[in-house]
Symmetry: none
Subunit: 226 residues, 4 copies
C-alpha cells in the first residue's frame, strides 16, 4: 500500500478511554484547520498538536508519523464519499437512467459539500504522490459502483460500461472541485449542471432499450427526488 521501506501509515492504536477519543478527534479537526489556514507545506505535527490543544507526544500515541496522520484523515474522507456514492448506487439499481444520474450526482455533491472545508483541505493532501493509491482505490470503488448501477438501467444499456462510469465520475470531480475551491461563476447551481452534463453524455452514448422511452433527463426535475 505504501512505498517499501517506509514506516506504516496505519494508526498506532485504537483509543479505549474517553480522553483518548477526545485527543483523536481534536487532532483530526486540527489537521483540517491547519491545512486550510497554512497549507500542506506548512503543516507540522507541532502546529497540529497546538491547534488541537494537546501535546505532540499525544499525537504520536495515535499516529506513528506525520504521513500516517494525513493518510488517516484523507482515508476517512475518501471512505465517506465512496460509501455515500456506493449506497446511492445500490439503492437505484433497475431505475431509469435519469433517476440514476440525478441520485448519483446528489450523493456525490452532498458528500463533498456537507464537509466542504474538509474537502477543500484534502485536495491539498491528495495531490501528494504518497496518497496516489489511496485516491486510486477510492476512485475504483466508486466507479465500480457506478458501473454496476448503470448495467441495470431499465431504459438503456452501454457498450463500454467501465469507460462510461469513469467519464461520469471524473466529469463530476472537475466542476465540483472548482466550485469548492471558489473558482466558479456566481449563481452557478452545481448539482443541476452536473445532472445535465452526465445525463446528456449518457444519453448520447446509450443504446436505447427496446420498448423503453429514453428522453432528456431535464424532464425529471431534481426536486422530484429530494
Amino acid at each position: 500500500m505504501s512505498l517499501p521501506g517506509t514506516r506504516s501509515p496505519q494508526p498506532r492504536k485504537t483509543p479505549r478511554q474517553a480522553r483518548s477519543v477526545f485527543t483523536v478527534n481534536a487532532v483530526f479537526d486540527a489537521t483540517i484547520q491547519v491545512l486550510l489556514s497554512d497549507g500542506l507545506q506548512r503543516l507540522t505535527t507541532t502546529r497540529v498538536a497546538d491547534r488541537a490543544g494537546v501535546s505532540v507526544g499525544a499525537l504520536y500515541q495515535y499516529y506513528p508519523n506525520k504521513r500516517s496522520l494525513l493518510h488517516a484523515v484523507l482515508k476517512r474522507h475518501l471512505d465517506h464519499v465512496a460509501e455515500s456514492v456506493e449506497q446511492a448506487c445500490q439503492r437505484h439499481h433497475r431505475q431509469p437512467l435519469a433517476v440514476m444520474v440525478e441520485r448519483l450526482v446528489c450523493s456525490f455533491v452532498d458528500a463533498k459539500t456537507a464537509r466542504q472545508e474538509e474537502s477543500r483541505a484534502l485536495y491539498l493532501v491528495s495531490a501528494d504522490l504518497d496518497s496516489a493509491d489511496l485516491v486510486g482505490k477510492a476512485s475504483k470503488r466508486i466507479y465500480s459502483a457506478i458501473s454496476s448501477m448503470l448495467a441495470t438501467a431499465s431504459d438503456a444499456h452501454f457498450d463500454e460500461l467501465p469507460m462510461a462510469a469513469f467519464m461520469i465520475l471524473s466529469a463530476m470531480v472537475g466542476p465540483t472541485r472548482s466550485v469548492l475551491e471558489g473558482g466558479a461563476p456566481p449563481k452557478m447551481l452545481l448539482r443541476e449542471q452536473l445532472v445535465t452534463l452526465c445525463d446528456a453524455y449518457l444519453n448520447r452514448i446509450a443504446i436505447p432499450e427496446a420498448g423503453s422511452d429514453v428522453r432528456p433527463a431535464g424532464d425529471a426535475s431534481i426536486s422530484d427526488h429530494e
Copy 2:
C-alpha cells in the same frame, strides 16, 4: 500576485547568455524530474541542482528562492496550456458548435499530453495554497476564451455563457487529470470521450439559432481536423 511580506516569486534575471539559457532549462527539467520521482515534499533545491548538473549557487542566481522556482515552472506550464486553448478558441470564432467543441478539446488535451510528464508533475505543485492564484488566473483566462468563442457560435447561443464555459472547462479537466495520473480504464480514448461529453452538454443547454441545424457532433469526425 504573491502574499504580502514574502519576497517576489519572479525570476531574478532573464538569461541572456548561452550558459544561462542552458542552466535555466536544465533546472526546469530537473524540477519536473524530481517532482515525478520524489514528490513535492521531498523536492529540495539541492536535489534539483544536482539533477540539473549545476551547483545550488547557480540555481539561486536565477531563482531567489524555492517558491519562485516552483512558481516559474508552474506558470510556464499553465501559460502554455492557456495560450494553446486561447489560440484555438480565437481561430474558431463563428464556427458551428460541433467544430468549436472538437477544436477546444483537442487543443486542451494536446497541450496537456504533449508534455505529459510535466503535467503530472505539476498537479503536485498546483495543489499548494501558494499556487491558488496562479491556477485561478489561468483558469479564468481559459474560460474567458471559451466564453468568447461560444458567444459567436454560428448555430446556437447560450443563456448563461460564463457557466457553460466553466462547466466545459472543468469537465475537461477531471477526466484529463485522471487519465494522466493513470486511473483510466484501458483503451479509453480521451479526446473522443471529451468531445462527446462537451458536445452533448452544450447541445442540451443551447438555444438553437433560428435557421441553423444543430445536430449531434458525432458527425463531425475528429479526424477531419487532425
Copy 3:
C-alpha cells in the same frame, strides 16, 4: 556489516577542501572530548558540533547520522591499534618467543596509551551492540597476526595456536583497560607485567623446539629493545 534496514554507517563524503579537513578533524576530536566529559548517553550531535566549533549541519555533511560518526571514530582507533600490532608481529617472525612477546606487548600497550584519552573514550562506544562486529573484526585481525607470528617462533611451537593467540590478546586487553580506566594500583608497570604474564603463559603451553633453549623471559630485559 551493520544490521539490515539501518542506514549506512559509512562517512558521507571525503573532504576535498582545506576547510573540510578542518571540520572533519574538529568533529573527530570533539567526539572524543564529549565522550570523556559527558559519556555516551549524553553525547549528542549538537554537543559534538558545538565542541568542535562547527554547526550541526557541517557535521551531517560528513556523517549521515550519529551512528556513523561513532562508527568512524571507533573504526579509526581500532584500525590504528590493529595495524600497530600487525606490523610488530610481521617484523618479528622467526624470533625467539621472548622477543615476540615483548614486542607484541609493547606495540599493543603503546598503541593504546599513545592515545590514552581516545582509548578510554572508545571503551564507552565499543560496548554498544552496534559496534560488536567492528570490535570483532579488529580482534580477529589482531589474533591472526599473533597466530602467524607464534607459528614461526624459533624456539617453540604450539599445539593450539588459535587458542594461544586468543588468550594472549584477551589477557593483554583486560589489564590494559583497567589501567587506562584508572583502577590499577600505584607504581604498576603495565608493560612489564604483561610481558611476564604472556611469557609465563606461553612457556607453560609451548612445546620446546628440539635443540633450542627456552628460558624465562625475565632475562630478556625490556630495556634491551626500547
Copy 4:
C-alpha cells in the same frame, strides 16, 4: 555514591508483598532481555515495563528513575560475582598456590557463566561513565579478597601483592568477556586456560617459600577440586 545533584539511584522501597517481588523480578529479567535484544541506547522504561508485563507506573514504584533501575541490575550482578569470589577466596586461605588459583578461576568463571546472558547484557551497562564507581568498587572488593588469600599461600609469597592481585583479576576478565561475547575460537576451555595463565604468572613472580615445593599447577588437575 552517586553524582551530586542527581537523585538517589537506590530502589524506592523494598518489596514485601508477593506481588511486589514478582514485579521486581519481572522487571529485572525484562531489563536483561531488552539489553540483549535492543542494546542500551534503545532500552526505554516503557519497553522494559512492556516486556515485564507490568505498567510503566508500576516500574516507577520500585525505581525512581531509569538510572536507578540499571544501577540496581548492575549492582546485583556485580555483588553476586564479588561475593562468589570473596567466599571462594576466604575458603582457600592457607592453601598451596595451585589450589588457590584453580578455585579462584572457577568461582569467577562460574559466577559469570551461570548467568551468561546477564553478564553479556551488563557489559553494555557497565561501560557507561555513570557505572564507573560501581564497577570500581566491585573490582576493589574482589582484588582485596584475592590479595588476602594470596598473602596466606602455604608455598609462596609475593613482593607486590596488590599488583599481583590486580593482574590476576584483570587477566581473568579479558578472556572471560571475549568468550561470553562470542569471539573465542571453538573448543576453547576457558577455565583450563585461565588456570594455566594465572598459575604460570603467579609462579613466575612468586618468591618460593623456604622448605615448600612450588611446582607447575598443571599437576593439580582441575578435576581434583570439582
